[in-house]
Amino acid sequence: MSGRRSAFGVAFKNARRNKKRTFYLVLLISIPVTVAVMTSVFVTAGYVSPEESVTSQFGQANLIIEKSGDSSELDAWIEATVTDLAPDAERLEFRADYQTFAPRTWGRVIDVDLDDPLTEGIIGLVEGRSPQTPREVVLTEHLASVFAVGVGDSVELEGRSGTVRFEVVGLASHPIYWEQNEAIITPDGMDMFRSELNNARLLMLKVDDDLGFSQGYAQAWDRARYDFYPGDRDWPMPPSYWFLPDVYYADMSDAELAEMDRLITEEGDDSAMAYMESLFPNGVDFSLPETYAQSRTELLMWNQRSFTEIGPVIGTGVAALILAEVAFIAGAAFATGTRRRLREIGLLAANGASTKHVRSTVVGEGLVIGLLGGLFGSALALLLVVFGRSTIQQFVIRRIDEFPFSLTDIAGPILVAVIACVVAAWVPARTASGVPTLTALQGRMPVGRPKRWIIPFGLGVGAFGVLLLAVGLAGGSSGAATVAVIGAILMIGGAGLLAGPMVAWISKHSERFPITPRIVLRDSGRQRGRAAAAVAATMVIMMAPVAALATIEHNEANEAILGLAPDRSQIVISGTNTDTGEKMDLSDADLARVENLVPVASMATFEVIDAPIKYPAELAAVRDPDPDVDWGGHYFSPWRMAVAGDELLAFLDDARLEEALERDGMALIGVEERTNEIEIAGSVTEIAEVPIAVQQWSFPRVLVTEETAADYATFETRPNSVIEIEETWLQSLNPFHEPARPLWETSWGTDASLEMSGGGGADVSSGVVVALVTLATMLIVLIVVAAITALSAAEADSDLQTVVAVGAANSIRRKYLGLQSGIHTLLGALLAIPLTLVLMKTVYSSDAITGGWSQVGNFAVFDATVLHVPWMGIAVMLVVLPLAIGLVTALTVRSAPTTPPHRAT
């Protein structure tokens, strides 16, 4: 025991003696600990348990009735049904009007009584008083901040007959969700908001047998619902209209229904469906009465099934991943340190220290550094949270009022850091303690072959990880999510074990390489522990871009079924909407307004012809879905036709398109160059498809020449415009930049708000995403490489001095370290790519994540379980990243000085 204590004493002194190295390692450990603690904070503050979520909706009531619209008959029916099913339920009843308060600020106006004790847990006054008169309002704090008002100020809300001015008499807040947007007014005030467009009732209950209640309620409503539907129709709808939504049926005239019957009888359902789409290109602007009950038990079950509880598990997984990365880097550091201290270890052994003492010395240093790094990292995280609370709040749903840490949030990462460092130190310590004393005294570390069992063991661990991941993902509960995270970490660990044999193999086969890469590879082989740890550390980082690229590829394949996605700067403007919901054609004045608001790089106006167009392949896929895959539903996207005038052709600037138009008089804007088949106004025709990226939902897919357009003169036409907004290169790299923001921001709420599509912030082109992901990866890999280079350079420097002494240029050091980091990056990528692809395939195959469905689009059927390999991105990672990282390393390190070399062996 005393021997071990003295060994730890030596370890502590070593840490103190090598202050610079200790400081560096502590810093290295502390940064991921900070990230891990912060991750916990974000996850905790971003996570609302199903219990909390449900409770926050019920408050103290056990029956909540939320009403939209105005129907006394419906309210009477609800009253009778509820009294019958749950006579003793404590009710909270209010009316609600869902509103868009400002661009992208959605919420509701409610007339809940804030003084009612039943509201406790749903909403509470934090300042001022509750509204007393019809023109008084209480705003939630977040909504007040959107309006930039406080108590005593006034705000304007959109009422049934225009804007209504209210005086803010109080501020309220939701106990959990800080971003809730609600305006609370009196029941009298609410009369100004009742909307006939949304005639629905929502009942939420937590009575004793709430499942029984909601079931009984649903059955009662199924029987009674048709009593409340428009009386001029036969309800329920005839079965032959199976494809027709109730609301369309209610809105159709007798003549239209007669035409529908004729089409079904004479031409079939397809024609009837096309007719339906032509009648309701923009849907309908009213709803049928609807009432539904959500019981607390059902809500809880749904929340638990829907993976909402895996937040903390994922957070822990991320933290564990970060700390695994640290363990790899620390492993490299301790491996290097131990090699450098081999003589010292030999001396200890020569003076009677046992293997255990020697091991304790190195492991003790790991313990000291892990502990210091953990404490320092946690302290840093605490400071960040204290001083950055308001910034953090913007990114999480839960209100951060108190100290957002639990003891486990801090103790967990510290503990993992200590364990990671101890394990990282233990491996080289075990190797060093096994070196014969005389060999150690000479400073020589014998190089052994990698153990034969490592490869099968690594593959076995990885395969077991895949199994756990698959099982965990299939489970869909928090426990199963934990299993999935453990599975993913085992996969990474298994792949990491392969790094050592990989390095050894390449080192062994370096015979034919030129001298510098040969020295690098041989050194890596000799210092396999350090090199393998570096490769594994790089592998962990490289997994992120592979996963990101695979996801992009997956999403792009999904999107491509609807056409090639354009840059976010392409906007299609199809008209304007008045404040009463009336749709107006696009005018020159509108376009002039657009040009004033955004920098337009190019613009084209064209005539859209409202001829019904169908894609037979799409219909066939919908009719006969593949029985082997799950059905993910389908939305017919109405195709449109436009006249390809000079402006539009110049905008699209595609020779293939012009050629097809000249030859056939029409062309289809699709996803690849091929001949396709479409049906225009009931007539099927072959058409040349040309791959061009345009707005998938709004840009006309069929372009015709003016001569061909004359054949469709019976259909209505209207002007549309497509514009390309200029983006600076910096803006194009910014994923949050929204080119069309001034358009929707300035036109919103006016008499002529633009009706447009595109220009959103999330639609950064995949090229930009790949570039950003590559840059971010490069940056992180560089940091890791810098850490490992700094640790290994001292060891390599004595050899490099010799190489310089026998005639190498001083730049050999740059070349050596550049090659080393490039090779480590390449090996890391070679491990990360198959590992991540297997991981992604397992995830995609899981019903819990993708639903395992397939989706029919205009141009193809997308199977969500298929992994789309991002070959281009992989090529970049395998070629460009290692080269770039090698080059940057070579350019940033210093050359070797010309000095007489010290003993190298």
């Binding site: 020589r444 030129p514 001298i515 050899d799 010799t802 002494a805 001083n810 007489p900 070399p901 190298a904």
Partner: protein, 240 residues
């Protein structure tokens, strides 16, 4: 008279400043002609290794000038100095300084490969050099698979490989037995007779006797230069 392979004029080397100042070399004038074998002797700390490092373009003099094959080292760029070390100067280090990651023959072939020679050709030259030092057939072994004496001979082979004109050896026989040491000195001698020059640091008077001239250093200055009229064929000749 032809230009000496190595010429040193008023070469001085100072380490440290103020009270810490140490004059390792003071006003050294030394010429080593083509085919000449010069031994440097002196006590520890007399400046022998510093002199050798400056001659080998591994260190810069604080004062004075050094010419190798007529090139003033002070005027050369780092890359030119590297070329001098690679092509003209063969350096045998006291501590061997073999790269542990390379085999014996790879260590010997290192300067040739750095000079752009094909790997196979460089390896062939290296094997010849290894045979010369008595290590034929051991080129595939790594330094940690060789004894101290064998490592020293690999280091010597690396210094001798290729068409070097100036051989610098720092205690090249330190780890060798008498017979092997003698064979190495004979090798250096033979190289000198083929036109190369050699500058060898040694403590051993018997080994110094193999040189044409012996330069004795004391406190960084040349204390004495003695010239031998006859060249021994073995160390026994010297003692006899």
């Amino acid at each position: 008279m032809s230009e000496p392979i190595l010429k040193m004029r008023r070469v001085g080397k100072t380490h440290g400043r103020g009270a810490q100042r140490v004059d390792a070399l003071v006003d050294i004038d030394l010429d080593v002609a083509s085919g000449e074998f010069v031994a440097i002797t002196g006590r520890s700390g007399s400046g022998k290794t510093t002199l050798l490092n400056i001659a080998g373009a591994l260190d810069e003099p604080t004062t004075g000038n050094v010419w190798v094959e007529g090139n003033d080292l002070g005027d050369l760029s780092n890359n030119d100095l590297a070329r001098i070390r690679r092509v003209s100067v063969g350096y045998v280090f006291q501590q061997f300084n073999l790269l542990p990651a390379l085999t014996g023959s790879e260590n010997v072939a290192l300067p040739l490969e750095l000079d752009g020679l094909e790997v196979r050709e460089a390896r062939a030259y290296a094997n010849l050099a290894l045979e010369e030092v008595g290590l034929g057939g051991m080129g595939d072994r790594y330094p940690d698979q060789l004894s101290g004496g064998e490592q020293q001979r690999v280091a010597i082979a690396r210094g001798l490989v290729g068409p070097r004109t100036l051989l610098l050896a720092d205690e090249p026989t330190g780890a060798l037995d008498e017979a092997t040491g003698e064979s190495i000195l004979k090798l250096l001698r033979d190289r000198c007779e083929l036109g190369a020059s050699a500058l060898m640091v040694t403590h051993e008077p018997a080994f110094a006797a193999w040189a044409d001239r012996v330069v004795r250093l004391r406190d960084g200055q040349i204390e004495e230069i003695s010239v031998r009229s006859t060249v021994p064929s073995s160390t026994a000749d010297i003692y006899s």
